[in-house]
Amino acid sequence: MKNMLRSFWKTVSYTISFLLITVAYNNCGNFNSDGGQVASSATTEALNGDIVPLPNTKTSSVIRASRVLDNLVSCLGTIEPSTASRQEWSRNRGTISEEGLANTISQPMVKSMVGIAAQVCNDLLQKEIATNPNERRIFPDVDLDNGGFGTNQLTLVSRRLARSCWGRNPTDDEITTITRDVAATFSGDEDNRTATRNKAIYLCTSMASSFSTYEM
């Protein structure tokens, strides 16, 4: 009888532990930015690595190689890519998925996206330098000639870049990440023209080559 009781309470305690763990786990943090739980997509990926489309579900994809340069030129508003940007894209397009299939993302592809973004960001920077500060599209608040790219300007520029290239406002977490990283990366630099322009390239390249820019 005593053994039966012990066994009963043991079973009950296991069950309660299990339920507590499950509940605690599911309440522990954000599963995704929408607050919803993440569905398993195990059934969407065939064993050979191909992606199997599901009814009523968006199929993940990224921008195709032929559109990468146009997309960056469009979102950064440089109108025409420079020769250097064209060359960078042309040199690297072979590493970028032709069809934009999610399963073709590779290390060289991501690196190419960074390299191409850097060139188009440089086009943007040169264009903005040559433009009256009040008429600049992305860096109106930044003194690109004498230096001056503080946290406030950084936040404003980040928002403009995000709205333009990500098609949405950045989240607070993203803004925090950006400002923290920029501050840490340029902490030893003087607030002069060179450092400001470098910050502009750094910020623009990072945002323009992050996933949201090339997600389709």
Partner: protein, 495 residues
């Protein structure tokens, strides 16, 4: 201690361990504000061993999200040394007459009755042996070796290197002047495990395969297209040129760090999509790999910076970035030292039927020289290499007894591909020098399993590559049921 006590003790230990892990999990959530997701976070929370020791799969499945182990699912690389042999493809674009260099024979391994539309005259073609006992078109009676490909090989590879090299051909009919022949096997080779520490696949042409062939069976990793040396340099060193070169090395690395942080957050938005988990995983892996590469001390792959290799490839230290031998030598070095996975070289100008033999001979000799340099490079690094030589179609000569008859037109039915394998410890063992055979009609026998189908011929080459690597266990998982056991016995000549 009896079995009952052992079991009870085991259960008690498991219970203690589980309670400890539960506490770690709660502590992690409280201190970080989110559940542990990545492998690093799981390890940090002390949960990795927990996942391994759980005995209730459904419970484990509920505890650990499917994408939690993303970092563990990155494609493996050769970092630390891939066990698979360096694999290099040399494509001779346009339809090289490879069957007039290596001398194909009939099913009984006897010379064909005549080679008079293969530019070699009657059936008594003089034979020059190399790679053991492999027949090549030999001395035409004037001291002139007919096979200029062999001449090129001997000009650039030492006799010692050739004595450690095996050669096997695969007669196969292929389309002339066409990019539609599925000869590329870099996808299969990558799937078998050769991915390179930094660059999975190098190629020369803007295509899925990096050359003018389609892939057989498995799409290869997207190749880095190497137009000149700076493409490799740029791929290995982010910001070596361009706007990022104004940033310090630390700042360039920080760009990747910020891209990684932003992208990791952003990819959580697509996890519910079809393929979203895979995409998220690949993005994380790809950026992480770039950071690894940026941080790593890298040996140079520049052939110009290696005095010994400069000699092999015939280039000097000041040669241009777009010098073909600088590009080829550097690509080959990248493969040999494991920086790159599969390496695909391509030479153009092999649609050489211009009613002379001169152009064809010159091109063949150049191809031979490249083959010799690849083998010699492997010898220099004391590394094994498996070289696959392909083309699209072949040539025909006028019906003639001339042993150096001109090339008049295309004739893909006389197509052939080569496999060469170098082992610094000695010539790899082979049972034959040909997979399949030619017919009396001076064409690849398309009744043989590989004779009429480039994809099957390519698969046979891959099977031989696996055999050379002593990895026949990978046949089924990588190649599937392409060949039955009997056919495998017919097509595998290595080992």
């Amino acid at each position: 201690m009896n079995q009952k006590n052992k079991n009870e003790m085991k259960k008690e230990l498991q219970e203690i361990e589980r309670k400890e892990k539960d506490k770690n999990f709660r502590d992690y959530c409280l201190s970080h504000g989110h559940r542990p997701v990545t492998r690093r976070e799981l390890l940090g929370a002390g949960l990795m061993s927990f996942t391994a020791s759980m005995t209730v799969p459904t419970l484990a499945g509920m505890m650990i999200p499917r994408y939690a182990s993303a970092a563990e699912n990155c494609p493996s690389s050769a970092a630390g040394g891939s066990a698979m042999t360096t694999f290099i493809t040399l494509n001779l674009a346009g339809g090289a007459m490879l069957a007039a260099n290596y001398l194909p024979t009939d099913q009984g391994r006897q010379p064909l009755p005549t080679y008079n539309i293969m530019g070699l005259g009657n059936g008594s073609v003089p034979v020059e042996r190399e790679f053991g006992n492999v027949p090549f078109a030999g001395d035409d009676g004037t001291g002139n070796i007919i096979s200029k490909l062999l001449v090129g090989i001997r000009a650039t590879a030492s006799q010692d290197t050739l004595s450690k090299t095996a050669f096997v051909s695969v007669p196969v009919r292929s389309r002339d002047d066409s990019g539609a022949n599925p000869f590329d096997i870099s996808g299969l080779v990558a799937k078998a495990g050769l991915l390179g520490a930094e660059l999975p696949n190098l190629g020369r042409r803007q295509s899925d395969t990096g050359m003018n062939h389609m892939y057989a069976k498995v799409k290869p990793p997207t190749p880095l297209i190497v137009g000149n040396y700076s493409d490799i340099d740029g791929a290995l060193n982010l910001g070596a040129t361009g706007p990022l070169s104004n940033l310090s090395e630390e700042q360039r690395l920080s760009v990747l760090g910020l891209v990684k942080k932003l992208s990791e957050t952003q990819t959580t938005r697509v996890l519910q999509n079809a393929g979203g988990r895979m995409l998220s995983n690949l993005v994380e892996c790809a950026i992480g790999k770039n950071i690894e590469i940026a941080q790593a001390e890298k040996p140079s792959v520049d052939v110009r910076q290696d005095a010994s290799l400069r000699g092999v490839w015939g280039v000097d230290a000041g040669a241009n970035d777009n010098n073909q031998d600088v590009i080829f030598g550097s690509m080959v070095k990248a493969g040999l030292i494991g920086t790159a996975g599969t390496v695909t070289l391509e030479r153009g100008g092999y649609d050489y039927h211009n009613n002379t033999r001169t152009t064809g001979d010159q091109r063949d000799q150049e191809a031979g020289a490249t083959i010799g340099r690849i083998l010699e490079s492997a010898s220099l690094f004391n590394k094994k290499v498996f070289l696959y030589v392909t083309s699209d179609g072949a040539c025909v000569s006028p019906t003639s007894d001339d042993r150096n008859a001109p090339w008049r037109s295309d004739r893909g039915s006389a197509g052939i591909v080569y496999m060469l394998a170098f082992d610094p410890s000695g010539r790899p063992e082979t049972s034959d020098h040909m997979v399949g055979h030619f017919t009396d009609g001076q064409a690849a026998d398309n009744t043989f399993v590989t004779g009429g189908n480039p994809e099957l011929a390519a698969s046979a080459v891959f099977a031989n590559y696996l055999k050379f690597n002593n990895r026949m266990d990978l046949i089924q998982p990588v190649l599937g049921t392409t060949f039955n056991t009997s056919q495998l016995d017919q097509v595998i000549k290595f080992g």
